[in-house]
Amino acid sequence: MSAYAHAEPNIEVHKFYGGTISVATFLSLVLQAFLNKYGAWVGFLELPLLITIYFGLSRRNPATGLLLGGTIGVLQDAVSHTPIGTYGIAKTVVGYMASSIGSRIDTEHPLARAALIFLFFHVHQAVLTVIERALLDRPVAFFSSKLLIAALINTAAGLLLFPLLDRLRKPS
């Protein structure tokens, strides 16, 4: 049996209204830039990452997922002070993993979504750390208390955001 969503009879590939992914991506970047002004706790939020995870899990196509994640990451780099490609590589990996996992298991359950968001956030931060250490030559620590707090915050935000984005699906 095929492991991919389009050949898997039990796993549904969700379709969205036209422009949903573009608008959602744009809004996530704008809100992220807006929220970063307000301090540490809000700055832990990674809206573009949540968008990447959601649409990766929903589309269930690794190729689409990695391209989407790469695009979102590059756009995020473009509006940040980081070299372009930093977040692009991290979100490309997350988009690919989310699409691959999404094509194998059911990701509608909140607990599954919470676990996946928690996991992918750590993967995202790990890739960022590797890039900063290897390429940017910055001595960045991976394991810290802020990492756990940020992962919990993003998990909670994702559990709130994903049902809102579910409303933008086309009815099957």
């Binding site: 990695l66 790469g70 990451g73 590059v74 372009i84 490609g85 590589i89 690919y96 699409s99 390429l135």
Partner: protein, 326 residues
């Protein structure tokens, strides 16, 4: 179906690798490392340099193996060729050195000849020496065909050498002044006191018939007096080495001025005409020609053979100052 899945399974991975690779490359173009060098340039150098080193090492290793092992046969041939050429060049070098020394000697002779243009003389090469230990004679490559005659004086620019005692067709025998049969009329250059230089078949000469009252100091020069009718006057014979009172005359040892143990070229005076009082001639540029260039003057006889007795037996007696040699 499963066969078809394999390529489609690898496509997302390939796409993932491509996208990540492109973004890493993009980062590399933006990030600058030490000395403001872009990361992509650092990577390129880090990737290429080991390959270049490896390639260079491989090529040099192959070349070394070829040159030091496989191609040794050519090395052996080259070695032999170089050895023979070295031997040839060493011989040539020795020959040239010998010629250079000979040229220096001939230049001295030419200088003496040039300084005394009115005195006919001929250059000769020493071709042999005495066969016994008691006599001091040499053979030269001039003879009757070169107008040599008995009792002609033989000199070098450094000093007198001896006289011709035998003349053959193309060679002559010369009695050196160190031979015990030799005697030369002499005088001190300073006091002009006369004496007789005698050979003792030894390196040093003996100045005889000088009274003990004569002040003789080492280093004094002894010149020819001309009284023997063989050597022109005022030619350098040698220098005093030591002097001590004797009975009845002083015992004065004289070192010959000419290097009698290293004779190679000499001059034969074809006349008894006096030369200017010149102990050493300045060396000239060109060597003396092989054939005798000096011709006897019309006003002067070639050699006083018939008019004076040969000096092999005794020195011609000067008027009351030089006693006959016993």
């Amino acid at each position: 179906m499963s066969m078809m899945e394999l390529p489609s399974r690898q496509r997302p991975l390939t796409l993932l690798a491509i996208v990540i690779g492109l973004q890493v490359l993009l980062l590399a173009f933006q990030i600058k490392r030490d000395h403001d060098v872009r990361l992509v340039r650092v990577w390129a150098v880090d990737i290429l340099t080991p390959l270049q080193r490896s390639g260079t090492w491989m090529i040099s290793s192959v070349h070394a193996v070829w040159a030091h092992y496989i191609d040794l046969r050519r090395t052996g041939v080259e070695n032999d060729r170089l050895h023979s050429e070295l031997g040839r060049l060493q011989l040539r070098n020795r020959e040239l050195e010998s010629r250079a020394v000979e040229a220096d000697r001939l230049a001295l002779l030419l200088g003496f000849h040039t300084a005394n243009p009115d005195v006919p003389m001929v250059a000769a090469q020493v071709i042999g020496a005495n066969a016994d230990a008691s006599s001091r004679t040499i053979f030269i490559n001039r003879g009757d065909t070169d107008r040599l005659r008995k009792n002609m004086a033989v000199i070098t620019p450094d000093g007198i050498v001896g006289k011709v005692v035998e003349v053959y067709q193309d060679t002559s025998q010369v009695l050196l002044i160190t031979d015990r049969e030799s005697g030369v009329g002499a005088l001190f250059s300073g006091s002009r006191t006369h004496g007789v230089i005698k050979g003792m078949s030894e390196p040093y000469l003996l100045m005889d018939y000088v009274i003990n009252e004569e002040k003789v100091a080492p280093g004094q020069e002894i010149l020819t007096s001309g009284e023997d009718q063989i050597f022109p006057k005022d030619l350098l014979i040698g220098t005093v080495v030591r002097s001590k009172n004797g009975n009845p005359f002083s015992v004065i040892n004289v070192r010959p001025a000419a290097r009698l143990d290293r004779l190679e070229e000499v001059l034969v005076l074809l006349t008894r005409r006096d030369t200017p009082n010149q102990k050493k001639a300045e060396p000239a540029v060109a060597p003396v020609p092989a054939t005798g260039a000096a011709t006897p003057s019309a006003a002067t006889p070639v050699a006083p053979v018939t008019t004076t007795p040969p000096a092999t037996k005794s020195i011609s007696k000067p008027p009351a100052t030089t006693p006959e040699r016993p």
